[in-house]
Amino acid sequence: AVTMAPSVTERYFTRWYKPDVKGNPCEDHCILQHSNRICVITLAEAHPLLQNGKTIKSINYQISANCSRLQNKVSGKSKRGAQFLTELAPLCRISCSDGDEYTIYSCIRGRLMEVNESILDNPSILQDKPSTEGYIAVVLPKFEESKGITQGLLTQKEYQEVLLKRFNSTA
């Protein structure tokens, strides 16, 4: 009798959702919030990139001519030197073999700790394990903002309702 224990993500993180980011239908993001206020930015299950038939061609952390998320460096306990992110700060652009391009956003205010470099060499991790190894970035909200940071986001239950409505309207 094997009982499924909750996974690492379920044990330590709370899931928050932002549907239709920047008004783009179905481009849902999921923010995993650790009890220590660390946030991991991931793709939500309904994101077009995770649907059947999509092949990722490239992932680019160079979000403008003079800003690359790969140049982010933090030092010390206080994480000096981190790039500051607003809710709508782009993290990376992902292009698919079918020509579609998607931008992934921070969705929360905070300082960028790291981006996931592993998905550069092996983009399929992003699709295989979007909630763990295929994460996009790690963000640390300000201590005083950490409580309110998720105010504009949906809980898992609210997000299920959004998905249900979406399903019903297309059906």
């Binding site: 220590n36 010390g76 306990k77 700790m113 394990k129 763990t132 190894e133 790690v138």
Partner: protein
Amino acid sequence: MFALTEKDRPLAQMLLDFGACPRCILRFCGAGLQTPYRCPHKELLSEVHTFLKNNKEEEGRCCETADPPYKRIRLQDPEVAEGLNQNGSLQSSLMESSENVACENSPPNVCSVCLGILQESCERDFVKKVCQKVNSAEYQFTSFVFSVSFPPQLSVREHAAWLLVKQEMGKQGLSPAKEDIVQLKEAYKWIIHPLLSEELSVPADGKVVDANFNFILQSVFTRMAVIKALEKIKEEDFRKHFPCPPTSPKTPCAALEIQCTNGAIFVAGRYNKYSRDLPQTPWIIDGERKLESSVEELISEPLVTVFKVDSFNFSSSGREDVDVRTLGNGRPFAVELVNPRRVHFATEEMKELQQTINNSTDKIKVRDLQLVTREAIGRMKEGEEEKTKTYSALVWTEKAIQKGDISFLDEMKELKLDQKTPLRVLHRRPLAVRPRVIHTMQSAYIDEHHFRLHLKTQAGTYIKEFVHGDFGRTKPNMGSLLGTTADILELDVESVDVDWPPALDN
């Protein structure tokens, strides 16, 4: 005569005239031997007067009318004056120079320099009061350190007296050095140490800190501020603002506070933790307690009660997470017990104390409980970084596995990891990729989705993250080694290889 010589006469007379007590007279005359200071105050006073009476006689009769009180003493037989032991009459001679008029047998005038520190505060009554305080606290001790804190006003008076001494000696063509004066604190200790030692029946010891009393007298200025100001101020300015000689106060300064503290003692041992719901230290988030107990409290609370201490500080060789057990010989720990009343414990009593702790809970168990020195605790922390740790983990795999799928782990030796600071501690630790080594692994198959993994690792390796991978941030990890998703369901520390404190046969 006692400690003063002919050349000290004019200075001693001047000091007496402005109301210095006999011990302050000795101090400013630079009497450097301890014994004279220990004479009872009354005897000293009478000796000073006898000494200075001769002075007056030698100086000639011109003073007679100018200084009637001395005339009165002079009229008495010096031996009678001492024999009667009546400071009263001697006292009055002092007092008539101030506005106070003392009657016979009244307490001595308060010294204008030391404010009575070398008078009343040196008397047996005061010593008894201090000792009562010590004894009522029921301390166990074998020696004591006396520390005293004087009000900053004393520094000002001391300075005023010093200026006068310099002036007086200057008249004689001498230039005294400040080092020649016996410091108030020094003289005070000379007097009070033997008295305390006798009353407490233990020796005074400058090195071994055992019991420790302070008496502090209130002031609006800090001592350092006063000392700094006195260093800077010009002599003329000082004289303008502060009466030289200083006026005689009506009441002596009193001890505001007598504090006793016993030097901390240290208890060490090893603990096992059998609970997966027990943090090592109290777990409090936003002022709210998450779990009712902790390893530190379960061990320290019985110690606090038995040693009768004010507070404690718990430390250990590393620590485990709330859901991790510590088995085997346990984890070395030490507890600093602050201000203990009891300090002497026989081996047998320590054994009983250990038993008391072990009987009070089934969440932890303590062994090798013993008294140690502060220095020895360093050895516990030394081992923390270099030593290896042995763990046992219950691993879950997403993919169904057979025995043969995991046996290769047993062959892996010195497996190098690149471990990024785990997400769960990233908020309080710097972000870095740290190389770590898994020395050996041994797997024990349980079923298609579970096996037990025994690991011997370099200290500082995060085992949970090695097993579940921490979002792929520890590389390689158990999932990547097995080609599946892996998770850790249970973790036990099997041994902490630090050979301190010494094992006891119990």
